[in-house]
Symmetry: C2
């Protein structure tokens, strides 16, 4: 009965621990194979396969065949944002899977959120870009200014390929650890790729943490000052 969106369906999909683990693993932004996701979830391949088809039916993940592998990824950036929002909510209610472990501080400092930088550093970056006038906000929407285009060109970001897709260049994404916004969208993605390409930071293999090198950290802080 009742009208309106079926939130129970989404809840059920996210509510199973194995599926939640898979989705969390996919928040890393990389496409993963069914086997990898089975490991991440701690279930057998058959079980994982069943979960993945449910997630696909629900449009939470998408699938890409490549040779004899099947790569799964989050369906889109909106899915990542929703998961991040739920994480923030869960954290605010103290629903943690474990007591905050040693890796937790690293996650709070810098982590990957689907395909862009999140955590303290992610929030700082957006704050800095807004202070400098590179980006301005109108409601929820973030817009790249004319001056901003020049700023980015100086840094060496090519904006051409960023505006080609339907996805917005700038988008705000709520950060679960900081409870403030960081930068998503194609620009957020491009900036993170840049940091990784330059060797300023590395993603860790077993978690979503992004670890900056000492040199990379000072470069980053210099590039995105505050005040």
């Amino acid at each position: 009965m009742k009208e309106g969106p079926d939130i129970a369906r989404i809840g059920t999909l996210i509510g199973d621990p194995a599926r939640a683990n898979m989705l969390t693993a996919l928040m890393g932004g990389q496409a993963l194979t069914a086997t990898e996701l089975a490991q991440a979830a701690g279930v057998t391949l058959q079980t994982a396969s069943s979960h993945l088809s449910k997630l696909e039916d629900g449009s939470l993940v998408s699938q890409r065949k490549q040779g004899r592998h099947r790569y799964f990824a989050l369906a889109d950036a909106a899915t990542g944002s929703l998961l991040e929002a739920i994480m923030g909510f869960a954290a605010s209610r103290g629903h943690l899977r474990h007591r905050p472990g040693p890796r937790d501080p690293a996650l709070r400092k810098a982590r990957i959120c689907y395909d862009h930088l999140a955590g303290d550093y992610g929030v700082r970056m957006l704050d800095s870009l807004m202070q400098r006038g590179t980006i301005v906000s109108e409601g929820d929407d973030l817009t790249l200014t004319e001056k901003g285009r020049l700023d980015l060109r100086e840094i060496g970001i090519d904006l051409e390929p960023l505006s080609s897709s339907r996805r917005p260049i700038c988008k705000s994404c709520l950060d679960w650890s900081e409870r403030r916004s960081h930068l998503a969208g194609t620009l957020g993605k491009a900036l993170l790729s840049r940091f990784l390409d330059e060797g300023w930071a590395r993603r860790s293999d077993d978690s979503r943490a992004i670890r900056f090198t000492k040199a990379g950290e000072s470069q980053f802080l210099a590039l995105f000052p505050l005040e």
Copy 2:
């Protein structure tokens, strides 16, 4: 295993149809008794009671004893926002509980979102307030300007009681039908109460729809012009 927030717990809580119905009913913003929620969910009182204690354990709803009644409400505005976000996501994937029925257009036009106005009219109101310079946005945060304080005083909104609580005066909330932001926070709440008090609009008994009277509608449109 794994670190981080337990999204599966939130998912499970929202994932049961009976609980989802209760939460949707509570999105109306009114506190409801266990009996009313049992009806809304289509289960017996015993079952509802069990669901409600789970929701309370999970900090999704809060309880208030009053005489021999127990009133339940969403735990806070953040809970309402999360549910609205999930509704938007579900709708975007076409996960609807029913084909859009006759009440659907009314819901899209104006409805209550926890305690403030949502839908086409809610979005219009925030747009208008921002065009007029009453409210400006900084990232996700909305701020009331000095000029805005005067604007509101003219309309007859008393800002004193709004700033007393810890809850922000202005907050943006993502609208699932419009996919844009509308105004939440204590000001959003106060404005809606105002419309209801003035008799411009009435809430319907059986859904979240807000129905404007003919006179109220023109008052509203005049008060919040666009362009």
